[in-house]
């Protein structure tokens, strides 16, 4: 007989002693359960953030351990959301960590049947070259009345409503300087 097991460790006695009369609380926990701690309490740091889904702008607290996001919860300090998140906001840890998320750059050649791996830097250089070439090919200096246009109608963009203000600013600035005007986002939709 296990010397540590005494009469006092009998389940019924444990239930009575601990006040857990229904036997659904501490009297029936295993050592493993007793050793569990919430991810939020073992995190290395907590970072204040904002939910990336709709435009209510609920406050989030991002819990980080070993350089990885381990949990995202509502920020009770936010005067807008007061700690609450909806199903999407509550699932945003999975937005970041979901195993299906694409982490590598990919390339599909014209007429190609499938994706091919590509170095990120190579891809960005190829895009820069295509940007310059398309701009050159489709450049318009003036309209038919000789009025300045100074633009390309050969390069377009869609997106921005899910991005940061600072990102939209660089996008608009670069495209405008390049003469690309067909720059749009979800706000038109």
């Amino acid at each position: 007989m296990d010397p540590k097991k005494t009469l006092l460790s009998w389940p019924v006695v444990r239930q009575l002693r601990s006040g857990d009369f229904l036997g659904r609380g501490p009297s029936v926990t295993s050592a493993r359960t007793r050793g569990l701690e919430p991810r939020t309490s073992t995190a290395d740091k907590v970072v204040q953030s904002v939910c990336p889904y709709c435009a209510v702008g609920c406050g989030q607290r991002v819990f980080v351990k070993d350089g990885r996001v381990v949990q995202i919860e509502g920020d009770p300090d936010s005067p807008v959301s007061r700690g609450r998140l909806c199903p999407k906001g509550s699932a945003s840890e999975q937005l970041v960590n979901n195993p299906g998320r694409q982490r590598k750059a990919l390339y599909r050649r014209p007429g190609g049947a499938d994706w091919e791996p590509i170095e990120l830097s190579t891809a960005v250089e190829m895009i820069a070259q295509r940007f310059v070439e398309s701009r050159r090919r489709t450049w318009q200096d003036h309209d038919e009345h000789g009025r300045p246009l100074r633009r390309t109608m050969g390069i377009a963009s869609l997106g921005g409503a899910t991005l940061d203000n600072e990102e939209n600013y660089l996008i608009k600035k670069l495209f405008t300087a390049a003469g690309a005007i067909q720059i749009e986002n979800q706000a038109r939709i």
Binding site: A55, F131, E166, Y169, I181
Partner: protein, 898 residues
């Protein structure tokens, strides 16, 4: 958002707030707990309806009739807030005698041009003080720089420029009759315009019975006035129509008449759907505007700097838009730095010019025509999320190159191998010559930056971790792309490359070697460039100068980086502040939370009531004070009266609360700025089983249509063939998914919660068509046929419109066809065609015509045959639905594109 809890009545219309903005809905719940009445007006009974005092089902697209009837009810029963209306709105202002109403012209306002399909708005102008025609300097209704035709304004989507204030007027002299009796006052015009918008008309058009209308009218008017306020809440249920901007204008008229603007618990709350969709409008990734709602220049209108400055804000008009030159110069200085000088007009010539509408739908059609070579998709999935998904995918198949930047392999990245057009045989993978780059994006936790939420508040999110693998932020990617493009052009002597080479593009690196987002925010905020303060951040946009001594990338955001502090990151806990919470985040302009809040005090500057006290004049201090940042010149006394004709902020009287309007007043009647009429008028949707009961003119005569073989419409009203697509469909969102699914259908949690595309139908419609709950249905429109699981539910109410039962079908639009998501399905947006609101070029996606039959849709070629067979039975041609003028013997088909 929190201010909704101050409302005594909340009308939610065109929004399912409890499901689509659930966390914000807590403030509606708070209001209701304090006794507020909540009314939900929507085609479907939803969780919003379930938690409201009343749900009023409405036929999609008929909202102007309901709100117009509310205006009539307020006027007829003299329930408007008289002192507010006379002092703060343009009710007393006289309109040009030549103005003719839709009641005079059977559904058209004066100035309609049959040839162009749009309005010349000159006759809508305010009356002139010298009694002469509108060419005289006495007219303020005309465009500030010549009379720009509606056609041209529509093409540059000029309506968007009013995101931070009203349109420019030549000056601020107006004629007023404060007894409101002159037949040419706005007040009397309003009365005549809505005379036929009766409760019976509401019943016959919206399917809302007279008792329900009276309930709404009573609730709204009893909860407005000195002591009480009512708020309206809307979302894309109002915007996505061919007269969407006018839906919101109608609510604005109601709120101005009831004195609910600029006051706590009042206003009109727009619930936007993306984390920074407000930010991407303020700092626009949009074709027609520059940061801060400055116009993109248009060839022929703004060829010179003088033309441009005169057009964007005239020095003689009232209010802060008169300083638009300082905003524009500061922007050009931010972009082109030392290269921008007074001598070269600040490099205004570096800006590209518009020459028509270049919105996302026009661009899609240009792709189909082979005019667009390259396309960037930045966190957006048009193959699923844009109207007419088929057109979107076929357009992308014509590109030379496509860059998709996203978290997941969205349908817009894979249409070339598993899109519906591959399945139907219309396209083949090997036949699609598009080169596609997929670049993975960084998440919000992997980068620092600010989102602007729906109430104009910027909130900073801090980077928590490094992006994995090749994932990059847009900041990293675009900085790098710009660097490489400039490198490729470094030796260029071509003049066209100067704007790129002279561009300020030298952001400091953060600790990870990436461009520092806070440095970009500082540039957006603006700096002093000369004098003692050189290099210091600006504190307010009023510090901006037109002489090149300041820069600033977005004037409305000036102040967010005042004193070098990132106020978007202000985080004093809400529980340590009052409800307004001015020390959490930063709202533009000037950290103001309620716009036009000077209107919360009476003309003498005293609160309208103790209960609704918000901003007031402190006589002792000689300043405005209260619970928010006053939206007024801080020390301008209520009694102040400027010299007649004074322009700019100095021209605002002490009781002109609408400081961004060119006459300082709230506009019941819009003498300028709206392209489809100065007053909202009911028109039927582009596709509708109902004939317009008010006018022979069926649909908005200024809407933008695109007569094309791939964009056919159902006949409407009593046209032959309309019965082929007898039902109304409307699209919507669910709590568990996000728009086109790019951020939700790849998440197992959310996919499990809402796994499959479905359609909602009433038990009556199910019986009529033999649809079984849980079974399959095929839904056919003029463009496509899709399949969905059937949900038979009493939440859908059949409406009786003039003795005829109209069924509506509800379709959540989150799913798409592809092989990579956790869950996929047919895309509801494939059913939609492209017809646009003329003010803002937004598509009509909340009301369309369809048929619904039991069973799954055919596949392959048979699917195409099914769609063609319906089109043929309906007799649809490229002209169906595309005649802008209807019901007039002299009307001729319109054959031009939009």
């Amino acid at each position: 958002m929190q201010d909704l809890s101050n409302a005594d009545c909340i009308v939610i219309q065109g929004s399912n707030m409890a499901e689509c903005h659930p966390v914000a809905y807590q403030w509606v719940t708070e209001a209701r707990l304090k006794g507020a009445k909540v009314i939900h007006i929507d085609p479907r009974f939803t969780r919003t309806s379930a938690t409201a005092d009343k749900h009023i089902p409405i036929r999609a697209g008929s909202d102007v009739v309901l709100l117009g009837a509310l205006i009539k009810f307020i006027l007829d029963n003299e329930l408007y807030f008289k002192e507010y209306v006379v002092a703060y709105t343009n009710a007393a202002t006289l309109v040009n005698e030549d103005f003719q109403d839709t009641e005079d012209l059977d559904g058209l306002f004066s100035g309609y041009d049959d040839e162009l399909g749009s309005y010349a708005p000159d006759t809508w102008a305010y009356a002139s003080s010298d009694g002469e025609g509108d060419e005289s300097p006495g007219t303020i209704g005309g465009p500030a720089a010549g009379h720009e035709h509606g056609q041209s304004q529509s093409e540059r989507s000029a309506g968007d420029q009013h995101g931070s204030g009203g349109p420019a007027l030549e000056h601020a002299r107006v004629l007023r009759d404060e007894t409101l009796q002159d037949p040419n006052t706005v007040f009397q015009i309003l009365k005549r315009h809505y005379a036929r918008y009766t409760p019976e008309m509401v019943a016959d058009t919206c399917g809302i019975n007279v008792d329900d209308f009276n309930y709404l009218a009573k609730a709204v008017t009893e909860n407005s006035g000195r002591e009480r306020t009512t708020a309206f809440v809307y979302a894309v249920g109002w915007t996505q129509h061919t007269l969407g901007a006018q839906f919101i204008r109608t609510a604005a008229i109601v709120q101005l008449l009831l004195g609910n603007m600029g006051r706590p618990g009042g206003g009109i709350m727009a619930l936007r759907g993306h984390a920074s969709i407000q930010g991407s409008t303020d700092i626009p990734t949009l074709y027609n505007i520059l940061p801060g709602y400055l116009a993109m220049p248009v060839a022929g209108l703004h060829d010179t700097w003088e033309d441009y400055v005169g057009a964007i804000g005239n020095k003689e008009q009232k209010g802060f838009w008169a300083n638009a030159d300082t905003y524009a110069v500061s922007l050009l200085k931010a972009w082109w730095g030392k290269a921008a000088t007074a001598e070269n007009d600040w490099r205004f010539d570096y800006l590209p010019r518009l020459s028509g509408a270049h919105g996302t739908y026009q661009t899609t059609m240009a792709m189909l025509d082979g005019e667009v070579e390259g396309y960037f998709l930045l966190g957006q999935n048009p193959a699923v999320g844009s109207a007419h998904g088929r057109m979107q995918r076929q357009a992308m198949a014509k590109l030379k190159w496509l860059v998709v930047r996203d978290f997941n392999m969205i349908e817009s990245a894979t249409f070339w191998k598993d899109g519906p057009e591959i399945a139907s045989g219309e396209l083949t993978t090997e036949g699609i010559e598009t080169e596609v780059f997929f670049l993975p994006a960084a998440a919000h936790t992997e980068k620092s930056g600010s989102f602007t939420q729906t109430q104009r508040m910027l909130q900073w999110h801090h980077q928590a971790v490094q992006p994995p693998g090749d994932c990059q932020s847009e900041l990293q990617f675009f900085f790098e792309l710009g660097r490489r493009v400039r490198e490729l052009l470094a030796d260029s002597t071509d003049e066209r490359d100067r704007p790129l080479l002279d561009l300020t593009w030298d952001y400091p690196a953060d600790e990870n070697g990436d461009p520092d987002a806070e440095a970009v925010l500082a540039e957006i905020n603006g700096r002093h460039l000369t004098g003692d303060k050189a290099g210091q951040p600006l504190s307010a946009y009023t510090e901006m100068k037109a002489d090149g001594s300041t820069d600033g990338g977005c004037w409305i955001y000036t102040g967010v980086y005042a004193d070098g502090v990132n106020h978007a990151a202000d985080r004093k806990p809400g529980q340590e502040q009052d409800l307004t919470a001015l020390e959490w985040g930063w709202a533009w302009p000037a950290n103001r939370r309620i716009l036009y809040n000077r209107a919360s005090a009476d003309p003498e500057g005293k609160p309208w009531s103790e209960r609704k006290k918000y901003i007031w004049w402190d006589e002792e201090q000689g300043r405005w004070t209260g619970h928010d940042v006053p939206d007024f010149v801080p020390d301008k006394a209520p009694s102040y009266r400027p010299e007649p004709g004074t322009g700019g902020a100095a021209g605002l009287a002490g009781d002109d609360p609408f400081v961004m309007q060119a006459d300082g007043k709230g506009w019941l009647f819009a003498p300028k700025g709206m392209l489809d009429g100065p007053l909202p008028t009911h028109y039927e949707p582009q596709e509708s089983p109902v004939r317009n009961p008010l006018y022979a003119q069926q649909s908005n005569p200024a809407r933008k249509v695109f007569p094309r073989k791939d964009n056919l419409w159902s006949p409407s009203g009593d046209e032959p063939g309309a019965d082929v697509y007898p039902f109304v469909f409307t699209t919507y969102r669910l709590t568990e998914h996000h728009t086109a699914g790019g951020m939700s259908r790849w998440l197992p949690y959310l996919s499990e919660l809402q796994p499959e595309f479905f359609c909602e139908v009433s038990p009556e419609l199910a019986a009529e068509r033999g649809l079984e709950n849980g079974g399959w249905a095929t839904i056919v429109s003029g463009r496509a046929a899709i399949e969905a699981r059937v949900m038979v539910t009493e939440r859908m109410t059949p409406l009786v419109i003039r003795g005829r039962t109209i069924h509506q079908v509800g379709l959540p639009y989150h799913w798409g066809v592809g092989g990579n998501a956790v869950v996929s399905g047919d895309a509801a947006n494939d059913l939609l065609g492209v017809a646009l609101d003329p003010n803002v070029q937004i598509q009509e996606s909340k009301a369309g015509s369809c048929d619904i039959v039991p069973g799954r849709r055919p596949t392959g070629e048979a699917l195409l045959r099914l769609v063609a067979e319906y089109q043929s039975r309906a007799g649809s041609t490229v002209m169906t639905g595309n005649e802008l003028r209807t019901g007039h013997p002299e009307s001729t088909p319109d054959t031009r594109g939009g």
